[in-house]
Symmetry: C2
Subunit: 149 residues, 2 copies
DNA sequence: CATGGTATGGAAAACGAGTTTCATTTTCAT
DNA sequence: ATGAAAATGAAACTCGTTTTCCATACCATG
């Protein structure tokens, strides 16, 4: 997983400047590696660090970090784009467990579905290059809470 | 799979009226059972049938047909909602093969991923209720065309 | 250490898919 | 045929996101 220094280097490679605002947004992203923040959540956290940061700067920086491969979009089908740090070691998309109770999003690291690609090719003549899986249900924490009610 | 008559009956059950506009939109949906139309595409086709049909009516009718279980949303992660007829015989979501060359969307009927739900529960304590799978790649037609170039 | 050109920032306007409002028209049970 | 209720189309409005505008900051040069 990338660290702040490596991301600074990547910016410099592309001749983008490391500004205070970008640093603040980068810190937010790094401090929330395991989360799937929306632009609005990033703006809120950024304004806490520095009230002089504008929403357009946050959106621009999000797109910049997308372009240089630091973060990527995650669609959870609620009309809001979320963002997630890219792990350059992963060759393929990972998948998401989405809790219907608390809304928490967890990653499924292992690609448990890879073995089906051959089956899909044989049945449909469709050559698979990638797949994205969203698994809905109830997370551990929420199902424990439900038990004790 | 539902036919025009059954859908008309369903409308009547809920005391919704069958208007010319709703009939036109219904016909478009029935004539494109195998497609995954966006609202914009439905509006375009509806205007061809009857130029006096308004976009808001199409959006309203789409939501109406969703409510009474005629169509359902399909998210393809491009920010545009698409719609697909519901087959009442299917108990669970089916999945989608999306061709990266021609953009065509095909359904995967069999639920090939069901056996993994237990595995996800054991590993993550996450109780799966549903999952949506999007498989990207190159469809049969497109890969044949590529071969002959 | 000026100079000028490029990059950056924030505010506000624009965008676009989708929704709502409201005055008018259509439907359908009577 | 009639009138209450429902449906319609045009236009206004959301709301997340993007772009524009222009002033300011940066940085490699003369």
């Amino acid at each position: 997983m990338l660290n702040a220094y490596q991301i600074g280097e990547t910016l410099r490679e592309y001749s983008y400047k490391m500004t205070l605002q970008r640093k603040a947004i980068l810190d937010i992203i790094l401090q929330n590696r395991d989360k799937h923040l929306s632009a609005e959540e990033i703006i809120e956290k950024a304004k806490k660090k520095n009230p002089r940061i504008g929403a357009s700067t946050v959106y621009r920086t999000i797109r910049l970090f997308e372009k240089i491969g630091v973060i990527q979009q995650v669609f959870l089908n609620d009309g809001i784009m979320r963002y997630h740090m890219i792990n350059p070691d992963e060759k393929r998309e990972h998948h998401h467990l989405i809790c219907k109770v608390c809304g928490d999003v967890m990653d499924v690291k292992e690609d448990i579905f890879e073995i089906f690609e051959d089956q899909i090719f044989r049945k449909n003549g469709f050559t698979v290059t990638d797949h994205r899986v969203k698994i809905y249900g109830i997370c551990k924490k929420c199902s424990e809470e439900i038990e004790y009610v």
